[in-house]
Symmetry: C2
Subunit: 145 residues, 2 copies
Amino acid sequence: MARAKTSAWPPLLTARALVIEAIEQRLAEAGLPELAWYDVLWTLEQAPSGRLRMHELAAATVITRSNMTRLVDRLEAAGLVTRARDAEDRRGALALLTSAGRDMRARMWKVYGPAIAQLFDAHVSEKESATLRACLLRIIEAARA
Amino acid sequence: MARAKTSAWPPLLTARALVIEAIEQRLAEAGLPELAWYDVLWTLEQAPSGRLRMHELAAATVITRSNMTRLVDRLEAAGLVTRARDAEDRRGALALLTSAGRDMRARMWKVYGPAIAQLFDAHVSEKESATLRACLLRIIEAARA
DNA sequence: TCGAGATGATTGCATATGTAATTATATGGG
DNA sequence: CCCATATAATTACATATGCAATCATCTCGA
């Protein structure tokens, strides 16, 4: 669909930037880590037994592998994650969530959840929200194919 | 609207990250600058006589002022933009688009435009696109209020 | 009109990122 | 079985970013 002047892409970029900015500010004010940490903690919490290979974690969060290495370094230093060698493939490293990591994710959600509700969802009806999700999931699927 | 499990926010983040990744790759392969440059060039091209104050440019593109200072440094070094003192307010600096800047924006659009069409708009109907835009513009308006 | 405080832009410093090596282990063809 | 090649993760280096000063100019009230 060529749609030069009416694509939703430019406002998507702007909306994301503004909402992220506001969310980061709230997290910082609450003395909590940045959003990227939440992403990793949440992704691990979703995974069976709270563990994932580094490359799976990187793919799931759309962060490059080398950045994930360094992000997990920081999370590990903060005690939120630990690393273990993978017994199956000894090249591989597993990142696994600690209970401090779980706690931190929950604490961050107390700020992040309401922020999403107020900054994003409040301006979208239930029906629109369903449409948005459906479109975005299609785009994700195509991009990953 | 509290919508914990069904918010469009998480897929928005993922979709944006994946699409940006693909776009940056195409720009790099074409030997073109990164997307952030496009944003600045386009914003200036929209502005009356292709010029904006640094803080206006920063606000429009949702980039911090200090980063805009340095981004314009690079654009200036590449000959795509020049700086001028503002006669009205001598604290202020104006960024203004050069004709090389206009050309570059056009060249980048040859890659960027089709990429948006293929990676984003192709997966959204006309009607959905209108809904997306409307929602996102509402979110932007609220965030800027 | 003068000085205190606000505002616009830049800069310094610590930290984070992208990209291209590098290291270690796995895998498949001869 | 062994070597060439692929893959997982990390690291090295250059570059970009966020945040807190800093510098210049403006504005407003005593």
